[in-house]
Amino acid sequence: MTRLLQLMLLQLSAIWLAACAQQPEKASHGRDIGDVVTIYSTTDTTIFEPVIADFKKLHPDIRLNYVELDGQPLFDRFLRESRAGKPQADIVLSSAMDLQVKLVNDGYTQKHRSVNADALPTWAKWRSEIFGLTFEPVVMVANPALFSDRSLPKTRLDLVKSLRARPAFWRGRIGTYDITASSVGYLLAGQDARQSNEYGALIGAMGEADARTYQNVSALIDDIASGKVALGYNVLGSYAKRRVAQGAKLRIIYPEDYTLAVVRAAFIAKDAPNSKGAHIFLEYLMSLRGQRILATRSDLAAVREEVSGRYARLDISGAALGPLRPIPIGPGLMTYLDQQKRQRFLENWRAALDQPRQK
């Protein structure tokens, strides 16, 4: 039975190849492009696996080539390939929203119009070219064991006060993104700088406390779980929640002054080798079925509110949460990518966080 199926598949592919040979312009990329959709993504492959599996059930004829990359390298590689006229990626999916927006603004993407695209909230899409697929609050994660005798900070101001009040406790025990290495970290820092009055004080205080910086959020959570770090600031909620689900003793704190939320934004490359397949996959990701899979199997809260209520999807009641501020997709995000601004922002950040070590 299986052999028969394989034989049939082989025949089918032979016919398909013959058809392809008659279309030299499509075959010029030198690989099978008809049935492979290449995805460049910042999301861990393991997290995305259920989505790929479900899509395969729906479209057994389309093979997904999932390439996991960090935000900045992804941006660089995509840009390099596109400029060279040899695009490899069909779909780019990244939580580095600012870099994604920059690529859209600079014309490396193509439009995608559908009913599902219209159903997304307006702040989660731009130009019908880039679409937010997930909705992930940015939280503080604490190891409750270390806070047995004191209350957990609920706001940024709480955290600043605590850092200043108990330098001995906090020394080397606060962790956050290394924004010079992590593009999501940089995006979040920029948003903090824009939204919060306490940002300068917070950076200063973290510097005083000899904060640890991480390129990878998983490593940070590992250290919190092990007790090496007491609290992580600006952690993607989905990662923390998954770790909690796996049994780690962690406390997730949604800052009450405001809670940022990032979306993983996807677009189809302008010269996608398999544009048709890319549209099908993107449409699937935005569909209710795809969104449900993202929310239930991948633990990435869905951006569509039909899938789950705004607060319900965070597993917390609205009352316990401050203002939720999703970062809107739009040209404003490019502000912190400005060469001069980025340079100075990083300089300031380095100055604040590296200073104590040099002492």
Partner: protein, 471 residues
């Protein structure tokens, strides 16, 4: 007029409705084209001016952050709002850069296009320019804002350039255009519908008149009395007038036929009686009877000729076939024709004119002159004593030509001078004339705008004067 050239656009028989719709259509189409053009350019201007304000605000907010460090370095701190406020045009791409005093890009997109006119202007502290250019294969609206700064001892210009694709502007302009043009389009449709209906109503009375006329019997020439719109009243008036004339002519014809029948019957009866008595008589009586019959026959022939001539003249008077001709030649020809029949008379024609050009119906005039000559020959002689000369004279007088024919006959009674010329009222009726000869002349004269005058000569005979205008 120049618009008469437009006529070939439609055949003469095209309906009023079609013509009106056609003309109205042209007016509205022209109006639409002009309005569309005006609306498009205005809409573009309006869209530009409203979005330009945002663009300027963005550039201004960047310019406000410009600072110069102690070592003369220009610094820009792009505010979040500068790019974010441009999402007033929700789907437009955004480009910006800051240029230093040396024209090099300090930050932002380094390859943005500049237009030729971006250069420092005199002593102004600040200047702003908007322009359109193509960037990344898309039309982009740019603003360039220049600021004069002093670095050390030198002053220079720093520029902030912000651009945005035209998508939102295009959409707004399109919407404005459509909103401006749609009412006119609706108005056009309404106007055409109104014309369609009102022409139908306006034409209704004409159709009614047509139906009325079609339903009449052939002898009913009474005027149309149906109320009609003022516009077609002249037409109805003309039709009524025409019918009245026709009615009158029919009347004249009827009396003419009756009189002619009467006039012909009497001499015919007399002729028959004379022939019969000639058949019965012998010798001298027979000769007398034959001579009388011959006289009657010739009188009858003349009567028939005159009736035909009168009918011809009457017919031609209605037709008016007018052309230029030489009256002198016509008189000479008429003389030749008439004299060949009765060649014993002494007829003289005198004139000082070389030619006598005039405009009129040559055949009618010739008929009139023949009648006059004939008349003179028939009635104008006193009876064979040798001095029965007939004198014709033609001369030019008062923009016209006057032909006088003088005979030496008995003339006519003064009381009858004025009625001569009326049909069958001849002053010489009792002497064989049916009175048609002068009636024909009179009709010809009148139809040419001329006149006929009769006067008894002081010594003896009748002078007939025919005056005809030259044109």
């Amino acid at each position: 007029m120049w618009w008469s050239r437009l006529r070939p656009l439609w055949p003469e028989a095209t309906s009023i409705r079609a013509r009106l719709l056609w003309q109205l259509g042209i007016v509205f189409v022209c109006g639409m084209v002009i309005l569309y053009w005006a609306a498009t350019s205005y809409a573009r201007y309006a869209a530009d001016s409203s979005f330009d304000r945002v663009l300027l605000g963005s550039a201004g907010s960047i310019a406000e952050t410009l600072s110069i460090t102690a070592d003369g370095e220009v610094r820009a701190d792009i505010p979040y709002a500068a790019l974010d406020m441009l999402s007033a045009a929700p789907d437009d791409r955004v480009f910006y850069r800051v240029l230093g005093t040396d024209g090099a890009t300090l930050t932002g997109y380094s390859d943005l296009p500049l237009d030729r006119n971006t250069r420092p202007v005199s002593n102004a502290m600040e200047q702003v320019r908007f322009f359109d250019a193509t960037y990344m294969e898309e039309p982009v609206r740019f603003v360039v804002m220049g600021r004069q700064v002093r670095i050390g001892q030198q002053s220079g210009w720093i520029w902030v350039q912000v651009g945005q694709t035209r998508e939102a502007r295009r959409n707004l302009a399109q919407e404005l255009t459509i909103r401006a043009v749609l009412p006119i389009l609706a108005l056009t449709v309404i106007a055409i519908a109104v014309v369609w209906i009102s022409v139908g109503r306006a034409v209704r009375p004409i159709e009614a008149i047509g139906e009325d006329l079609a339903a009449r019997n052939s002898s009913d020439l009474s005027p149309i009395n149906a109320p009609v719109p003022a516009d077609i009243a002249p037409l109805v008036g003309a039709v009524n007038q025409f019918m009245a004339r026709l009615d009158n002519n029919m009347g004249v014809l009827r009396t003419f036929i009756a009189t002619a029948a009467h006039q012909l019957r009497t001499p015919l009866t007399a002729l028959l009686v004379q022939i019969r008595s000639a058949e019965l008589a012998t010798g001298k009586d027979r000769d007398e009877s034959v001579s009388a019959a011959s006289q009657s026959a010739s009188r009858l022939a003349r009567l028939v000729n005159q009736l035909l001539s009168d009918a011809m003249v009457t017919h031609r008077a209605d037709e008016k076939r007018v052309g230029p001709f030489d009256l002198k030649k016509v008189i000479e020809q008429s003389l030749q024709n008439t004299l060949s029949i009765s060649n014993e008379a002494d007829v003289r024609f005198t004139t000082t004119l070389q030619t006598a050009p005039m405009v009129g119906d040559e055949v009618m005039i010739a008929e009139a002159i023949k009648n006059l000559i004939h008349n003179a020959l028939t009635h104008g002689s006193s009876g064979g004593d040798g001095d029965d000369a007939i004198a014709l004279a033609l001369r030019a007088i008062d923009d016209g030509l006057e032909l006088s024919i003088a005979d030496t006959g008995p003339g006519i009674g003064n009381d009858m001078l004025s009625t001569v010329g009326d049909r069958f009222r001849s002053g010489m009726e009792n002497r064989g004339g049916a009175g048609l000869g002068l009636a024909i002349v009179k009709q010809v004269a009148e139809s040419h705008g001329g006149s006929l005058l009769l006067e008894n000569r002081p010594e003896r005979g009748l002078n007939v004067i025919l005056w005809l205008p030259q044109s």
